[in-house]
């Protein structure tokens, strides 16, 4: 069975500090991968997606970047955090022929102070 693991579960970081969030999917070969961001009490906004290793497409510009170093791994990062980066970050995966269904991880809660 497929599993999706996000790390860390939560982070408290200072403004201006770097950030790296990770996501690993096991049990699926060549999944499409996504990063979503959810402001506190808000809806979800897609940030990035990737259909293959080394290829990442940006959907919105939030001074964040993403990379896919391995087929099963998706990394979200920035060199300098802003207060506006606070929120809940969700990784998701989908497969071709799955009626566009996305499956989400448990998320990482980020507080920028």
């Amino acid at each position: 069975a497929q599993t999706i693991h996000q790390w860390p579960v939560a982070e408290i970081k200072a403004v201006g500090s770097p950030l790296s969030l990770g996501c690993t999917i096991k049990g699926k070969s060549s999944p499409n991968l996504y990063w979503y961001w959810q402001a506190t009490g808000g809806t979800l906004q897609q940030l990035f997606y990737s259909i293959t290793v080394g290829q990442v497409e940006s959907v919105v510009q939030l001074n964040l970047s993403a990379s896919r170093p391995k087929d099963d791994q998706f990394i979200l990062s920035t060199e300098k955090l802003l207060l506006s980066h606070s929120g809940f970050y969700l990784c998701a995966w989908s497969l071709w022929g799955s009626q566009n269904t996305l499956y989400f991880g448990a998320g990482t809660r980020l507080s920028v102070l």
Binding site: Q6, Y34, L90, F104, G107
Partner: protein
């Protein structure tokens, strides 16, 4: 442009009562429609989805939704709610990036509170 409207930010019902959470979408093509649930401090879990066929789709935990094309709606229903159904419910529509992945567009969510 694709969009999803959930007109009710908050719904409160008594345990055992029936439930309807409203969702309307705007999409020029054939929509893929979803309902997800988010329990406190957790990720999203898929409740059900519609992409073709019978407009009434069954999901987990007794939830169902009906796709009404003429009304551009995809309302979520449950005959009898339980206190454990308290959560935020998101309606979403899928927009393809052509052959390169897909994008889920979410509504703002409806917070369901079930009174014991």
């Amino acid at each position: 442009a694709q969009s999803v409207t959930q007109p009710d930010a908050r719904v409160t019902v008594s345990e055992g009562a029936s439930l309807q959470l409203r969702c309307k979408y705007s999409y020029s093509g054939t929509p893929y429609l979803f309902w997800y649930v988010q329990y406190p401090r957790q990720g999203l879990q898929l409740l059900l989805k519609y992409y073709s066929g019978d407009p009434v789709v069954q999901g987990v935990n007794g939830f169902e939704a009906e796709f009404i094309k003429s009304n551009s709606s995809f309302h979520l229903r449950k005959a009898s709610v339980h206190w454990s159904d308290s959560a935020v419910y998101f309606c979403a529509v899928s927009a393809n990036y052509g052959s390169s992945g897909n994008k889920l567009i979410f509504g703002i969510g409806t917070l369901l509170s079930v009174k014991p």
